[in-house]
């Protein structure tokens, strides 16, 4: 074994309750730790379902699934929640932030919700927030209400929140679809440089294949998922 796997899937099959056909049927998917991966997933390809399974929100799948060497199906649901909070950073497509919290309160949220994530910090939480804000170019916004931010600024705050406490696996679900082309490029570069610096795995899901060249590895869900074939 050279590099440990961030995501290791073998013969994964999943279907929703009361539905006869499988949504997912993935014979194999392996992502090594520290890689930046582009996963092309047009709508209807099972993208949301796959992310639900990887984050442990959807359970009861067939086959084997290991995230960071841990079999999620063997964890209780509360332990899956804890695992997700401690080891995964997640960025949504848009409307990522809690509207009633300030920028810095939004960024610190995962650390308060997950003691393990806070324990992983090498510096104080405040210094970590300052550090991320500096790198993501949102230093001047920390005390602002999030609703005063532009969409591009909001996405960088969301990135800071996903990166705080250095979770080994960062998942971004269409994070750039609300951004225009210039910002898109910039956002991915920032995200990429931060995850690289800490050897975090980045799983970037998008239907926009033009972004593919920016990543080390590129996968296409319709090819991996045999359920629709």
């Amino acid at each position: 074994m050279s590099t440990p796997s961030a995501i290791d899937i073998r013969n994964l099959k999943f279907r929703y309750p009361n539905v006869a056909t499988n949504v997912l049927d993935i014979p194999e998917l392996s992502i090594k730790q520290g890689q930046s991966v582009f996963l092309a997933g047009p709508s209807g390809s099972g993208k949301t379902t796959l992310l639900g399974i990887i984050t442990g929100i959807l359970s009861n799948h067939e086959g084997s699934l290991e995230i960071l060497g841990i079999k999620l199906s063997e964890l209780s649901s509360s332990n899956r929640d804890r695992f997700r909070g401690a080891y995964l950073g997640y960025i949504f497509q848009m409307f990522n932030l809690i509207p009633y919290l300030s920028v810095s309160e939004n960024i610190s949220l995962p650390c308060y919700l997950n003691p393990e994530r806070q324990a992983r910090l090498k510096t104080s939480l405040n210094e970590q927030i300052q550090y991320l804000a500096k790198h993501l170019e949102i230093s001047g916004l920390l005390d602002k209400p999030v609703l005063e931010l532009s969409v591009g600024q909001q996405q960088r705050v969301a990135a800071a929140r996903a990166l705080v406490g250095q979770p080994p696996l960062v998942i971004a679900d269409e994070p750039t679809s609300a951004l225009d082309t210039d910002l898109r490029q910039k956002f991915i570069e920032l995200l990429m440089s931060e995850t690289k610096r800490n050897n975090q795995t980045l799983l970037f899901v998008s239907h926009d294949v033009s972004l593919k060249p920016m990543f080390e590895i590129s996968l296409a869900l319709p090819q991996i998922n045999k359920a629709n074939a």
Binding site: G52, I57, S77, D81, P110, L113
Partner: protein
Amino acid sequence: MTRYLLFLARKSLMNRRLTCGLTVLSIALSVMLFVGVERVRQGARLSFAGTISQTDLIVGARGGPIQLLLYSVFRIGSPTGNISYESYDDIRTHPSIAWTIPYSLGDSHRGFRVVGTNDSFYEHYRYRGGQNIRFEHGDRPKEVLQTVVGADVAAALDYKIGDKIILAHGISDTGVSFQNHDDKPFQVSGILAKTNTPIDRSVYVSLQAIEAIHTGWEDGAPPIATLSATDREGITIPEQNLEPKQITTFLVGLHNRIDVLNLQRFISEYEGEPLTAIIPGVALSELWQGLSYAEIGLGIISFFVVLVGLMGMLVSIYISLNERRREMSILRSMGASGKHIFGLLLFESTFLSIAGMMVGIALLYAALLVFRPIIESNFGLTIPIHMLSGREWLYLLIVLSLSVILGLIPARQAYRNTLQDGLMIKL
């Protein structure tokens, strides 16, 4: 972790402070009404029980205890019969009796009852925890044809000291009378201070006066007028002819309360004539029990008001859930479990209802401080201001439990939403 969830809940509530404030206000108003009705009930009960105090027994002709209480204390309904003055004279010398107040009822004045009594009434009558009869103006009657009127009578008929009034024969609550004692007009000698009891709604004369105005009425009809109107002025009535022959009822005060039951038995078994003696407190609570349906009705209404207030809270939280699905999914993505979301919502409803209760109680006390004197002087209802009673705490506990139970509904919905939505944010 719990502390952080509380922080989030607080922030979230602050963010929706207008709608949450309105929810708190609606709960507050319903709690205020709920506890307020309880206070009015207590006040009504106290005022009712305080209509007469320090009287140990009420004695009347044999009859029902409630009826005796009604005509002797509340001046409602007709007496069942009279007591001969000999019997009264005999009983009042009983060694355990400290004082008696005789009442002679049966006449009226423009809808108000006329009570024949003696000085003992002004000396010994007590109401509401031992307050005695006071005069607003004037004094007790010094002559036979003088009268004292209650505060309501004076206010309603605009009587002043020295006014001449004419009593009517028989009890007429409508004020319409066909047989008047107009041969013997009375002069108002005193006006009583307001007591907020039936005392205010009566006209008081001496027992001798009752006897005097009925002189010549022994056959039940007015005497043939032999005196001209001018002759009636300055009429003097020889005292010796005016020994009362009968009274209607009398109140008894004892030296020692321990003797109440003995004396009650003595009077009930009195050989001279059939009499009934009642203990006012017992009869009053019996009567109150009879009126309890009104009390229960009020209680039911205010309970439903609370329920409506809580339903308002349920609706406002429930509506907010849809707007907050996104927020819930974000929290889920960061490791918050379905249970955390459930707890967050349950905390919110509990907090809103506790805040509502606290505001409601504060408003109630503020309202009591402001309106108590007004209610007291206008309605004779003294609403007690005291710390929350055990019963009121119980009410609040019921409201809290209800709010927690109702809060489970949106909490469960939020929990289900998070399971259904997962990380997929519904826009």
